[in-house]
Symmetry: C2
Amino acid sequence: MRRWGAGRGLLPTLNHLIALEATARLGSFRAAAEEMSLTQGAVAQQVRALEKEFDCPLFDRLPRGLSANRQGREYITRLRLALGIIDEATRELLHRDTPDEAGRLIVSTTSTFASRWLIPRLPEFSRANPDIAVMIDACDTARPLSGKGCVDMAIRWGAPPFAESHARFLLPASSIPVCAPALLSNSKALSPDNLDELPLISDSHKNWQRWFESCGRPGVKISGPVFSQTSHAIEAAEQGMGVALVPWLFVEAALHAGTLVHALNNQLQLDTDAGFYIMTAQPSGPESACGRVIDWLLAQGRAIEPAGP
Amino acid sequence: MRRWGAGRGLLPTLNHLIALEATARLGSFRAAAEEMSLTQGAVAQQVRALEKEFDCPLFDRLPRGLSANRQGREYITRLRLALGIIDEATRELLHRDTPDEAGRLIVSTTSTFASRWLIPRLPEFSRANPDIAVMIDACDTARPLSGKGCVDMAIRWGAPPFAESHARFLLPASSIPVCAPALLSNSKALSPDNLDELPLISDSHKNWQRWFESCGRPGVKISGPVFSQTSHAIEAAEQGMGVALVPWLFVEAALHAGTLVHALNNQLQLDTDAGFYIMTAQPSGPESACGRVIDWLLAQGRAIEPAGP
DNA sequence: CAAAGACAGTAGGAAAACTACAGGATGAGA
DNA sequence: TCTCATCCTGTAGTTTTCCTACTGTCTTTG
């Protein structure tokens, strides 16, 4: 009997369990031995060894085979469940449809972060690292970092501490109010006191409320177009539909290109303690594919920060 | 890689999986080896063997330990689940609180069958088989014959075929109308045509409707006391509350003792294709405790039948 | 630049698993 | 009733697997 984990667990000789299961299913050592391509004696020894390990008989010996007793039935039913899980996991591992999956790295992030920050920078990475194929899984609900359907890393907005994962800070999430330049041309100077006279574009983060609160104007009524995704809010602002309050890093390129301008002439931004973090199941070394992607991401993040407002 | 079941399944060398799990959890061969009281090389070989078996790396090799890659994380998460199930089943098997459980046999049946048929006959069996302790688990919902909390056999009312279990016919379930003798003394002769003038005691089996239908009187309104358990209906009949339509075998003793009489002078009974069956997970040999109980039950059933109406 | 710590790989001994065969019990069939 | 067939039990002896011990290589660290 083998200890497991921190000594709390107990596991029998696992290889013997296959013989146990087959014997229970087929009702005799002989039939089980035939299925397993072994001799009858080998199977009998394995099962006897388990019964001795447990100090508890699992079968009634009949003149014509065996029949599991109550403890045996109870144990074997649960054993089948466990073996089925291992079997399923093993077959999926063997019959994985993409044989080159080893060099493929799946990054889960939001649609907005992917289109506004990650994808524009990705070609450079791929040129420098042709052996790593980065796949972006844009999904607004978080994907698991371990288990079935897991991803290699996730880039998510949030604040520490993060349970069950290893997180590294990537980028701050300071938001600024932006709009199309045309919206400002023929009107008076804007300030926190009169900004709400323009349409205020909202996304699902409810930033405007906190922004007005930090300006000393709590309870301002937010009216204007509403989008679930930040990227849609940005596009609406570019179309002149109003003022959007969005993370600065998502509109850096648009500000540079002139399709968006800071609505308050770089005066105010909404600082939060939250930011964008890279999350992985465990720390990765700098030489692994995952580690190389993380290092590159962090370098990109450092490169962009000093140019901020 | 081992085939499993009818060849559909595939299982790796199960003993190696413990090393795999520990390595993933502790992040290095060395730490895993220490936990398992082995050398670093042994653990490394086991994990390498698995990776070769799967033809798929499960870990990224870091300069300072290892880190599971995506396939590894996915596999190990599911592996932990399976090992946890085996561990739990094993610990419950080892720490079972009743060491003499091997000689204890749990029979699941209904409260009525237990009190009206089984318990009266049980002392005789126990005298003849002092080594078998029969425990009766009276429960109106069926208990499983395998898995956690399973019972050794169940005696249940029903008709073949029974899925997922081995059934042997024990007793017919023919029902007869019975009542207290006092109920008949000062009244005219009863027949199916006027029986419904007396209170009709019902249990949850809705026998009266079918009984009147088989007498050519469908749609008769059933009025009288209603009980969920047949035994309570019998007790009510004994108290003179009305006529109960119950399996003959439950009132055999009462008819003999005179506390109940056949309401129609042995004329009519309700025959159904259903009956009482002994159900076990698998056939048991005549020498096993389970087999001896079954043989005795069947003998009791045969002994009672010829004396029937 | 050297020391420490980790994994990779290999040879040989230790342990286990498996086979083969003898023995005993039970049921089927002549 | 007797024999045969079938199945489990148990025990050597052999084969295979597993584990250890050790060397080599790489990387971090002081």
